[in-house]
Every structure is written in C-alpha cells, then in structure tokens.
C-alpha cells in the first residue's frame, strides 16, 4: 500500500455529469508524482477530495493506509496541502500564521524556529514575517503557505498548481525542497500545467482528461522517445478522436 491510494474514485457535482470518473492511482514513498491535465479536467476536484475539502460518494482514498472518509484526522496529520491560490488568514502576521500551523501539528518550539528560519530564509521572506499577511503579494502568500506546509515535515505533500505565481528563484527553491523531502522517503503529489517542470521533476505521472484517467505510470516509460508535452498532446488527440467516434 502506498502513502496515497486512490481507489475507484468518482465525484459528481449536484445535477451535473461526473467531474471525475472512476480513477485509481497509487503514490509510493519517495515519489514525486505529477498529476497533469487541461483546465477543468478534474485535477483540482481530485485533489480537493484527497485532502478532505470535498465529500464524495464513490470509491475511497487512503493516506498512509487510513481512509480520508473514515479517519480524516489521522490522514490530515500525515499530509500537508497547498491550494492553487492560498487564501491565508490576512489578519495574522506571517510569523503568527506559521506559529499557528506549528501549534496545530504540535511541532516543538526549537524545531519550529529552526525550520521557519531555514525555509523562510530560502524563500527570502524572513524579514516580512512580522507584517500582516494582508500586506503580502500573491507570491509571498504562496511562499508562506509552503513554509507552513512543511513545518511538520509531512510524509506527503499535496500541491495544486504550485509553480503558478512563484518567481523563478522560488521555483528553484521549491524544487529543491521537493527533492530533499523525497530523499528522506516522503512523497509529493502535485497537479501542474507546466509539463517541462513535471518532466524534469517527477518519477511518476498520471494524466486526466474530462474526468477520466488516460494514463498512469512512470516518467521513464513515457519519455523513451518523446517529450512529456508530445505524449500529452498525443493522448489528448486520441481521447478526442475516441470521444468523437463514440458520438
């Protein structure tokens, strides 16, 4: 069993067709797992269901062997989640937010100070931590959200479009953090549109189109004689053809 197992998961929004249709995938310890697909393909719906924001009826999602439906608190102690547009408590200062997250996850005082110094320093936001979050730019909020998310060294880091809105230096820092985490045996599961980043970073990838999983496997299998982008376009084309021939 992996650190994240999605089994026959489907999600239907009220009065609409299936946003996600019977997908299954597994993320192992040490994986950097890329979840790719076009806008509206079902990536965010899947991720929001994985982290416990959205309720779902069909299938189940297991994190470190615990069902998000039945044991949500055990699951949530295992992972950290960063949404595509991190809305943080604007009435708190950056440091108050980080201390809040550390309190929720029970991080010891000396450890939290060490980790905050290290990661906020890497992102270059240490000097702004005393300011209210409402004064932060989008990128700074994202950097703060990442610093908060890794303060308890989660076994699984789940990110929705993490590279959107980050400056080039922060992208490098985030990639570095991801590599460090996986080197320790932790796993990363993230959605992205940026295919060349996924190609260079991920060892596994899953592709979703119109709510259906069209591919799940290792990156090595894909890029033997093509780029991820070429593979992505080919899969989308095939899927479009099969859909149009069905109709």
């Amino acid at each position: 069993m992996g650190i994240l197992d999605i089994k026959n998961f489907s999600k239907v929004y009220k009065g609409q067709k299936k946003a996600v249709d019977n997908i299954s995938l597994s993320v192992e310890n040490g994986d950097v797992f890329g979840f790719i697909g076009h806008n509206g393909a079902g990536k965010s719906t899947t991720i929001k269901s994985v982290v416990g924001i959205l309720d779902f009826e069909e299938g189940d999602i297991y994190i470190d062997g615990h069902s998000i439906k039945k044991e949500p608190l055990k699951c949530k102690s295992t992972f950290s989640y960063i949404p595509d547009s991190p809305e943080l408590y604007e009435h708190l200062t950056g440091i108050q937010y980080l201390n809040f997250v550390a309190d929720i996850f029970g991080v010891p005082e000396d450890v939290r100070v060490k980790r905050i110094k290290e990661h906020s320093g890497m992102f270059g936001i240490t000097e702004s931590l005393g300011n209210l979050i409402s004064s932060y730019s989008h990128g700074m909020k994202q950097k703060l959200a990442i610093t908060g998310a890794i303060i308890h060294e989660p076994k699984l880091l789940i990110l929705d479009e993490p590279f959107v809105g980050l400056d080039p230096k922060a992208v490098v820092v985030l990639k570095e953090i991801m590599k460090k985490m996986t080197a320790k045996g932790n796993a990363i599961f993230f959605s992205t549109h940026v295919l060349d980043v996924a190609e260079r970073l991920c060892n596994k990838v899953a592709m979703i189109n119109h709510g259906k999983l069209v591919y799940s496997g290792t990156m090595d299998e894909i890029i033997q004689n093509q780029t991820l982008e070429e593979f992505f376009m080919k899969e989308l084309k095939d899927e479009t053809f099969s859909n149009s021939s069905k109709s």
Partner: protein
C-alpha cells in the same frame, strides 16, 4: 449615468444573489424573510403606537416631525454600521478602479446604496406615521408633498454624517499596524459617547409627564439638528421658500460630499489598504500553545480585525454597559419620584433585569457568523487535523469572551444599584450567563446549518445573512418567552422560576452542544 446604473445593477444582483436564486425559495431564503420581517413587525408596531400616543396627547401636529426624527436617528444608526464597509470594504475596488469609470460615479454608486437602504426604512416610518396622521384628522394637499420630500431627503444628511465619521476613523487608524482593531474600538467609544452624552450631561426627564418628555425631545432636536429645524419649518408654515431652502440645503450638502469624497477616494482607499510593514523581522523564540488556544487566538484576532464584525456583534454588550450606567444614574431618582402605587413598576423592572441583560447578551452573538467569516480560508480548517469539537469550542469561547466578563461586571453593579439580596445578585449574573452560553452554542449550530463561505463583503455575512438574523433573533425570542411568566408572576415564586429557567436552559444547551459537535463534519 449609464455607468452608475450598471454599477447599481451589479450591486443589487450580488446583494440579492439574483443569479443563485432558484424558482422556489429555499429554507434559508424563507428564514431570511422571516428573520427580516419579525423585527420589522415589532418596529412597525412601535412606530404606529408612538403615532397614536402623540395623537392621544393632543400632539397630532407633531406626528410628521416625529416620523422625520425617527427616520433620521435610524438612518444615522444604520449608516454608521454600514458606511465604512460600503465605501471602503468592497472586494471589487481594484476591478472598478481599473475600468474606464469616473471615480465620482463609483463614489455615487457606493453612497447611493447606503442612501437607498435608509430611504426604504424612512419610507416605511414616514408612510406609517403619515397614515396615522391622515386617519386621525383632516389633511390638505400639501401634506403629501411634505411627506414625499421628507421620505426622499431625510436619510441624505445622516448618511453623509455617518460616512464622514467612518472616513475620519479609518483615516486616523490607518496609520497604525492594527488599524482595524483601533477603528473598532474608536467606533465603540463614539457610540458610547453619543448614547450616554444626554444622560451624563445632567439632562433629566420626569417620567410622570410623557407629554413634556415628547415636547422636550422635539425641542432638543430642533436645537441640535439644523435639517430637522428646516423640515419642521416646512411642517409648520409650509411656504414655497421653506420647501426650496430645505431641498437646496439637502442637495447641496450631498453634492459637496460626493465631490469631496471623489477627490480623496483613491487616496483614502490606498491608505486604508496599505499595511504598515516592518522590514526587520527576525525569527527568535516562539511560544507553543495547545491546539484550542491556537484556534482561540486566531479567532479573537479575527474578531478584532474587522470593524464590521465587532461593531455589529458586540453592540449588545455596549447596550448592556449603557443600560447599567443609565440605571446607576437614574434609578434612585426614579424611585424617589415614583408615587407609592407605582413602586410595583420598579419591582417588575428589578425582576426582569436579568432578562433584559439576557436580551443584550443574545444580541452579541459572534458565533452565528464565525464559520461563514472563514470565507476562502476554510480550506485551512478543512485540511488541518482538527476535530470539529475543537473548532466549535474556539468559536464558542470567543463569543463567551465577549459576553461573560461584561455580564458578570454589569450584573454585580446592577445588583448593588438595586440593593439586591445575595440570591437575586447571583441570579442577575447566572441567568444572563446561562443565556450567553446557550446563545454562543446556538449561534454555531445555526451558522453550520446556513453557512456561506462565498461572500463579497463581511457586511453581507455579519448583517444580512440567514445565520446572523436567526442567531440573534432565536436567542431573543427565547428570552422573551422566558420573561413573560416573570412579568406576570411577581412575589416569592419568582426566584424559583429563575432557577428553573437556568436549569432548563442548561439542559437544552448541553443537548444542543452534543448535537452540534456530533453532526456533519465542517
């Protein structure tokens, strides 16, 4: 004009949620309607009663003046609570300022909405009191013109005054790091001052002569508020010149305000939205807290970060302080002047004071909007390893922080003012505290049932949401139901009744708490 109408249309669509309304009204929509109608009916009954009372005291000629006075006070009150959010708290500011629309049009659309809401209130008050005036004697044709002009103009100046006060408070507090907290406290001080000023100034009214009181109020208002003086002149003489002067003054003041605000609107918004920043922060030691304490700190900072939130939800406790101070100043005087056969009135007041305090406690229901106010931040609560019970507890504790300490202090002071026995002093504290706990838990339950995370402005959640209305009026109705037998039964059984009320309320509260934390996940 075209831009103004477009902005107004968008404002009404988002306010009334036209795009999300279904053909059939949901339970929530029905509750909103009931929640709005209920206090409305009470206010209407009060206004009609006042108009008939004026007629009874041979003061029929003052009915319209009183309708103007009431409309002015209510407009000022409503505008005071909504102006800062309406003018400076909207999320669409960036979008609007980037569009090819004149700043003055944006200002007019913002101000017009405040004016529009107050005019609706004025319309009802003036029409209702006008109807009593109409039905109790003869009227001439000018009467309808007087009413129409009154309705259309009465709320202009109060809305301007409230807006200017809001601007001054925001402008002054924007220099500080915790500007919202400072502006919230400033607002509370202004309200306390405005309400207590007549009492503290030594102005005394003899309650035995109601006609004199009503006349004195009119005279006072005539002296301090020029617009009332001008409107009163229309009512008394009704010359064309009086009409023109009154209308011209109202319109000129409005135009000056709009032009003035348009000039500084962008600068003020920039200032209010710019945060004080310190670029020298260094990570030193950090104090570890329990999860509940961490949630509580976050929650209490949320309360003090929003002027709209704190002003609307702590208002009941401000009223309690005003009530206590008024009692301290007036009760001895009232008791001295009261005829022997009216001593019973003071006894009833003594008996129902815990219930009056409970009413004010229920007005201060922060928890009924606490989940909705999470807004887009709700992902944090949903994805962190937090039990529902802890989150609920933190929101209840913040509500109790607002209500319990002030209730205890006020209860003790009121006990001393009345010279209450030990038993009655305990009831004076315990009964409102029991209602405070009930109200906080009930507020959370209601908010979880009617939660709305996708709001455009805090005002929408704090003042106009289903959970806000139900959270407040649910508690108030319960207090009123509990108070009725107390008013009817005086004597030795009254103390036992209070104890039984506390016990029943505690049982209901415990059951509601258990049901709330065991219900559906957040």
């Amino acid at each position: 004009m075209r831009h103004f109408l477009i902005l107004l249309k968008v404002r009404i669509i988002s306010q009334v949620r036209l795009n999300t309304l279904k053909g059939k009204a949901s339970i929530g929509d029905k509750m909103v309607i009931i929640g709005i109608l209920l206090p409305f009916v009470i206010v209407l009954a009060y206004i009609t009663g006042l108009a008939y009372m004026l007629n009874e005291y041979n003061m029929r000629e003052h009915i319209l003046a009183y309708s103007f006075l009431l409309s002015t006070v209510l407009s000022l009150f409503f505008a005071f609570f909504s102006a800062s959010d309406e003018l400076f708290g909207k999320r669409d500011y960036d979008t609007l300022m980037s569009l090819p629309i004149k700043t003055s049009i944006i200002v007019v659309s913002r101000f017009f909405y405040i004016y529009f809401l107050n005019t609706v209130v004025s319309l009802i008050i003036m029409l209702l009191m006008g109807a009593v005036y109409f039905s109790t004697g003869t009227v001439n044709g000018v009467f309808w013109i007087k009413i129409l002009i009154g309705i259309l103009t009465v709320s202009l100046v109060p809305s301007i005054v409230a807006s200017i006060v809001s601007i001054l408070v925001l402008e002054a507090s924007s220099r500080l790091k915790y500007s919202r907290a400072v502006s919230s406290i400033s607002y509370m001080c202004i309200i306390l001052f405005l309400v207590l000023a007549p009492t503290l100034s030594g102005y005394k009214l003899d309650p035995s002569d109601m006609k004199l009181i009503l006349t004195n109020i009119l005279n006072q208002f005539n002296q301090v508020y020029p617009m009332f003086y001008l409107y009163n002149k229309i009512l008394v003489t009704g010359t064309v010149g009086d009409f023109l002067i009154y209308i011209a003054v109202s319109l000129v003041l409005t135009v000056i305000f709009i032009i003035g605000l348009s000039f500084v609107y962008k600068r003020l918004n920039t200032k209010i939205r710019s945060m004080s920043s310190n670029k020298k922060y260094e990570v030193k030691t950090l104090k570890r807290s329990s999860i509940l304490k961490a949630l509580y700190i976050k929650e209490i900072k949320r309360l003090f970060s929003s002027t709209t939130y704190i002003m609307n939800k702590v208002f009941g406790m401000i009223m309690m302080v005003i009530f206590t101070i008024s009692l301290m100043i007036s009760i001895t005087k009232v008791m001295e002047n009261m005829p022997i056969d009216n001593i019973n009135t003071v006894e009833i007041l003594y008996g129902v004071t815990p219930y009056i305090m409970s009413l004010m406690v229920c007005l201060s229901n922060t928890s009924s909007v606490s989940f909705s106010l999470e807004g887009k931040n709700i992902w944090i609560i949903k994805t962190f390893p937090l039990s529902k019970e802890l989150v609920v507890k933190s929101k209840i504790l913040v509500n109790l922080t607002v209500t319990i300490p002030l209730t205890i202090i006020n209860g003790i002071i009121i006990g001393r003012v009345f010279g209450a026995t030990l038993f009655d002093s305990i009831i004076l504290v315990l009964l409102p505290c029991a209602f405070a706990v009930f109200s906080a838990i009930y507020g959370v339950a209601i908010n979880l049932r009617f939660v709305n995370y996708s709001w455009q402005s805090e005002l929408q959640v704090v003042k106009q949401s289903v959970s806000s209305l139900l959270g407040m009026f649910g508690g108030i109705i319960l207090v009123l139901i509990a108070a009725v037998p107390k008013v009817l039964w005086s004597g030795s059984i009254a103390g036992i009744y209070d104890v039984v009320t506390i016990l029943i309320l505690s049982i209901v509260t415990s059951m509601l708490y258990a049901k709330t934390i065991n219900g559906e996940p957040i």
